[in-house]
Amino acid sequence: MTLSTMLSAMGEGMLRSCAIFFLTILFSMPLGMVIMFLRRSRLKLVSGITKIYIAIMRGTPLMLQLLMWYFGPYYLFGMSIRGYRFPAIIIGFSMNYAAYFAEIYRGGMETIPQGQYEAAEVLGYSKTQTFFKIILPQVIKAILPSVTNEIITLVKDTSLAFTLAYNEMFSLAKQIAASQTSFTPFIIAGVFYFIANYAVAFAMERIEKALDYYK
């Protein structure tokens, strides 16, 4: 097998890895915001349940969570899981990463001094205006380094989709490596993850620089 056939065989897997990556970002980042608000709720019951949720998401392996999301509906409700593989992966990743993002957002919220809320209140801003105009922009700036870390971890974690026998790039690399008794697919995989993360780090650094105009 030549290098170019290997690459083209793995190409589709790369697209699948990218799909997992982008969809997880798309769902988990806003969902994390919702979870953060629930976690900060003044209602003890709401914040308590959210706390347990976060503890489970962070305290158990993502691999196990993926198996639960995929096979759970079948064992619990006898639901047919045909065609459910990809949605299960996206749900599993999104629910897991949302928990991490929620905690990052919460940390960011805590860096905002009480005086910012008070100034906004005295100036007559509504609660919504205060959050979106005054608080959120400062939170985003504060959490960028942690978010970068999390996104880089996600790039590498996409390989965990192999647990559900989903042919993302790393699964294909293993298959080709085994059938061709070659180490090259692993090197290709490594280069792929490295380039993807380099791009992530580069983009995030640009955003950080763009927000450097204030302290």
């Binding site: 209140e121 005295v122 100036l123 007559g124 105009y213 204030y214």
Partner: protein, 252 residues
């Protein structure tokens, strides 16, 4: 009467911070509130600006009732919409400035008039530039708060409060967070506003300033108003033993 506060009570847990305080401010008055730390003077200001809720008492701005007391003696705030209307009557300048760090100086001043009061942008901007000129900061309109000295930041904060055209402006220890050499420029601005007959209540530790600028001085201690009156009277000839003690400690 611009502000009327009657029978204000406020406790934090078991600690009674304000014990039945009554306090009025007339149009054009400049009132200084002095007293040792923990006397309740900042809490009084925070209650007047609704940053703290009072336990009992009445608060009325421009004849419009914001807080009333129920028959059981508990404070009752008017509905949100009415309270928001009443909030427009006052502005507050904080000890820590609390400028928005991600907004330029100009945007700090113009954003609330444009997006809260929904006034036309051009008009608000022109007024903001006028305010900056008054604060002697017209060349810093595009700077960010982190690029300014504390004194400059506080003057921007004053401009930001004035841009909403309040009837009364509260100052919560406006110079306490400043280096001594920067307090002068802020006090000068407040003095200038006093000359323009802006109604103001200033919580301060700057005794010579309080004496020179205000029409009335209030001395607070342990949650009560111990003494109030003409600054020359309170500073020159205090009637209460506690006031004498406090002022003596200050002169040392």
């Amino acid at each position: 009467m611009i502000l009327e506060m009657n029978g204000i009570k406020k406790s934090f847990g078991d600690l009674e911070v304000l014990k039945d305080i009554s306090f009025n401010v007339d149009s054009g008055e400049v009132v200084s509130v002095i007293g040792p730390s923990g006397s309740g003077k900042s809490t009084l200001l925070r209650c007047a600006t609704f940053l703290e809720t009072v336990d009992a008492g009445q608060i009325t701005y421009m004849g419009r009732s914001a807080v009333t007391t129920t028959s059981e003696g508990r404070a009752h705030y008017v509905p949100h919409a009415e309270l928001n209307q009443i909030k427009r009557y006052f502005g507050l300048v904080f000890q820590q400035f609390n400028l928005f760090p991600h907004y330029s100086v100009l945007k700090n001043i113009t954003d609330a008039p444009i997006h809260v009061q929904k006034r036309p942008k051009d008009e608000v901007r022109a007024e903001a530039m006028e305010l900056l000129r008054k604060m002697n900061l017209e060349n810093r309109a595009d700077a960010y708060p982190c690029q300014l000295s504390g004194g400059q930041q506080q003057r921007v904060a004053i401009a930001r409060a004035l841009a909403l055209k309040p009837e009364i402006l509260f100052f919560d220890e406006p110079t306490s967070a400043l280096d001594p050499e920067l307090t002068g420029e802020v006090l000068k601005v407040i003095r200038q506003l006093a000359e323009e007959k802006m109604t103001m209540v200033v919580v301060t530790h700057e005794m010579p300033f309080a004496r020179a600028v205000s029409n009335r001085v209030i001395f607070m201690d342990k949650g009560v108003i111990v003494e109030q009156g003409d600054p020359e009277e309170v500073f020159g000839n205090p009637k209460q033993e506690r006031t004498v003690q406090f002022l003596r400690n200050y002169q040392r």
